[in-house]
């Protein structure tokens, strides 16, 4: 579904070039459940943002469904992101001035084409699915971390994306809630066929996925070191 070919991402840190992602080639197939495992600063988040088209490569190609998307314009990439990619972050990243419901429905506001579903009904359905329909009109800072992460997952699924990218989704949660969230992600993959990419530094978390991709100093390595 998505392929990275010799992808590099280089930043300038002062005068020094930092290779956050260095010559990475990989493929993620539809309906896969994959984790990207690496320590802090290994470039795993940058890799995830590249896969999620939120970042453009310095060189190399990103191919989505057979189409090279590495050189598209901002508005074309935004449109693809809106339709195909859902993000879940460590710190939930909900907008605090909006209610739970308004946060979930946010991606719809940026849809550039007519939708083939009723957004409100879908948002309600997602809230119900994750057991947070009672928090519909709450503001994010008035609900628990676990509930916030469920809202974030609901938002990520709003446009029925092809791929769900989760960046340390359990990092800010206690272990029990963390497990709940991982169960949700797993079930999304298993029961609903959503492609899930989980970025983590925890072996135990990565072990739950069917495939692990190890990254160190921006390069893919055979196993976790």
């Amino acid at each position: 579904m998505i392929k990275l070919q010799n992808v590099k991402k280089t930043y300038l840190l002062g005068d020094e070039e930092v290779h956050a992602v260095d010559n990475v080639s990989l493929e993620i197939k539809a309906k896969e459940y994959v984790s990207i495992l690496g320590s802090s600063g290994s470039g795993k988040s940058t890799l995830m943002y590249l896969i999620g088209l939120l970042e453009q490569p310095s060189s190399g190609k990103i191919i989505l469904d057979g189409k090279d998307v590495s050189a598209l314009s901002d508005s074309q990439l935004s449109k693809i992101r809106n339709l195909n990619v859902g993000f879940v972050f460590q710190s939930f990243n909900l907008i605090n001035k909006f209610t739970v419901f308004e946060n979930v429905i946010l991606p719809v506001k940026y849809a550039k084409e007519k939708l083939d579903f009723d957004p409100e009904a879908r948002a309600e359905e997602l809230l119900k699915k994750f057991g947070i329909e009672g928090r519909r009109n709450f503001f994010p800072n008035k609900i628990s971390g676990g509930q916030q992460q469920r809202v974030a997952i609901a938002r990520a699924l709003m446009m029925s994306p092809k791929i769900l990218l989760a960046d340390e989704p359990t990092g800010n949660l206690d272990s029990k809630t963390g497990v709940d969230i991982l169960n949700i992600l797993e079930s999304l993959n298993k029961d609903f066929g959503v492609t899930v990419v989980l970025v983590t530094h925890e072996h135990d978390v990565a072990k739950r996925t069917k495939r692990q991709i190890y990254i160190k100093d921006g390069k893919l390595v055979g196993k976790y070191l």
Partner: protein, 396 residues
């Protein structure tokens, strides 16, 4: 394009979170719009007032004034310099063909006293024709006569308000006497209320009577000529100019028709008004800078929000439109508030002065405040749009 409702909702959610800040920022624009609209209204009012005053003068009126006047070298110069007209000019001008009415006008601001009370009045030394030329209709009593003028009789006609001030009622004024600068004058008539302060508080004296003490120079500020037929106005004007050129330089006097004078006055006041409005507009620019400042702060505070929106599919343009619309909403709200305040103030001013608000100032206020929002909002909005999504989303 993001739905407008979402834009509005998002903007107001933000204003609510920063009530004081938003209010103060909008206040900058409120003050600017308020001052501009009030000044435009005062300018319009002044224009209408002058128009009314001129309309109340008689028709086919030609006015001779000292100086090159209102047309040539400027307003002030015309009033300060120039000829001092005297009786000979009046006699000469009377001979101009088709001059049917003529009066010199000696004007003086002074006080009238009666029973220990003192009132500011405008004293006008005129001939009997003035009553016709200046449309001064009597409410009661009679005008002074030509022989009163020749005999320097101390008979006067007074304005309506003055008659009330001095004698409680116009009818009671007849036959009474009033003291002006040491002399005593007998009231023979009262002019109908005109709504013009100078007339309503006026004292109309035969011009020859003023020669004894009020006007020892025996000069006049102006000479008013009138003709029965409108087509004669041009001819009379030309004739008067020829007559005066024999005695004075071209620059020392001006012969104008009523309509020309009105046009000149309007021109002068328009210029003054434009200058005032331009000065007031500076406050609008200051208000705009306030908006820009706050929008920059907002963009920094909401960097993470920008990142989140970008992650869920917002384009750079979507972000630009969002912040721009917030700036425009803020400044338009300020503008509308300024407009409402200006409307209230104009309503109050109307008790004293015929200020008037027109649709133009309303449209201008709203357009200008939105334009300020766009102009000063676009730079911060562009900064927000250009934020790299990853950096934005990681911003704490």
């Amino acid at each position: 394009m993001i739905p407008y409702i979402h834009l509005g909702k998002s903007a107001f959610a933000d204003f609510r979170r920063n009530k004081t800040r938003s209010l103060l920022t909008a206040l900058g624009i409120t003050i600017g719009v308020f001052s501009v609209v009030v000044l435009i209204s005062l300018g319009l009012g002044l224009k209408n007032y002058i128009q009314q005053q001129f309309e109340s003068l008689g028709a086919n009126l030609i006015i001779v004034l000292p100086g090159s006047g209102f047309g040539g070298q400027g307003f002030g110069q015309g009033l300060i310099g120039g000829a001092k007209f005297d009786e000979k000019d009046v006699v000469d001008l009377k001979r101009v063909p088709n001059v049917d009415f003529i009066t010199p006008a000696f004007m003086k601001s002074t006080f009238a006293e009666e029973g220990g009370e003192k009132f500011a009045v405008t004293l006008l030394g005129i001939d009997t024709d003035a009553f016709k030329l200046m449309n001064l209709e009597l409410l009661t009593g009679k005008e002074f006569s030509r022989s009163d003028n020749e005999a320097r009789a101390k008979n006067v006609v007074i304005g309506y308000s003055l008659s009330e001030n001095l004698f409680e009622a116009p009818q009671r004024a007849l036959g009474k006497s009033v003291a002006i600068e040491g002399g005593r004058y007998k009231v023979t008539g009262v002019v109908k209320k005109k709504g013009d302060n100078e007339v309503d508080n006026g004292v109309f004296v035969p011009y020859k009577t003023t020669f004894s003490s009020l006007n020892p120079d025996k000069t006049f500020f102006a000479i008013h000529l009138g003709t029965e037929e409108k087509e004669n106005v041009e001819g009379v004007k030309k004739g008067a100019e020829e007559v005066l050129l024999r005695r004075y330089d071209e620059d020392d006097f001006t012969v104008s028709e009523q309509s020309e004078l009105l046009g000149t006055f309007n021109q002068i006041f328009s210029v003054i008004n434009i200058v005032l409005v331009a000065i007031a507009s500076i406050s609008l620019i200051v208000g705009g800078i306030g908006i820009m400042n706050i929008m920059y702060a907002t963009v920094t505070e909401r960097t993470k929000e920008v990142g989140i929106r970008r992650a869920v599919g917002a384009t750079q343009d979507d972000i630009l439109v969002q912040f721009l619309s917030e700036a425009v909403i803020l400044s338009s709200l300020g503008g509308v508030l300024g407009l409402i305040l200006a409307g209230l103030v104009v309503l109050i001013i109307r008790f004293f002065f015929p200020a008037s608000m027109n649709i133009l100032s309303v449209v201008a206020a709203i357009t200008i405040s939105s334009a300020i929002g766009i102009f000063f909002g676009v730079f911060p909005a562009r900064r927000a749009a250009k934020l790299p999504p990853i950096e934005a989303i990681r911003y704490e």
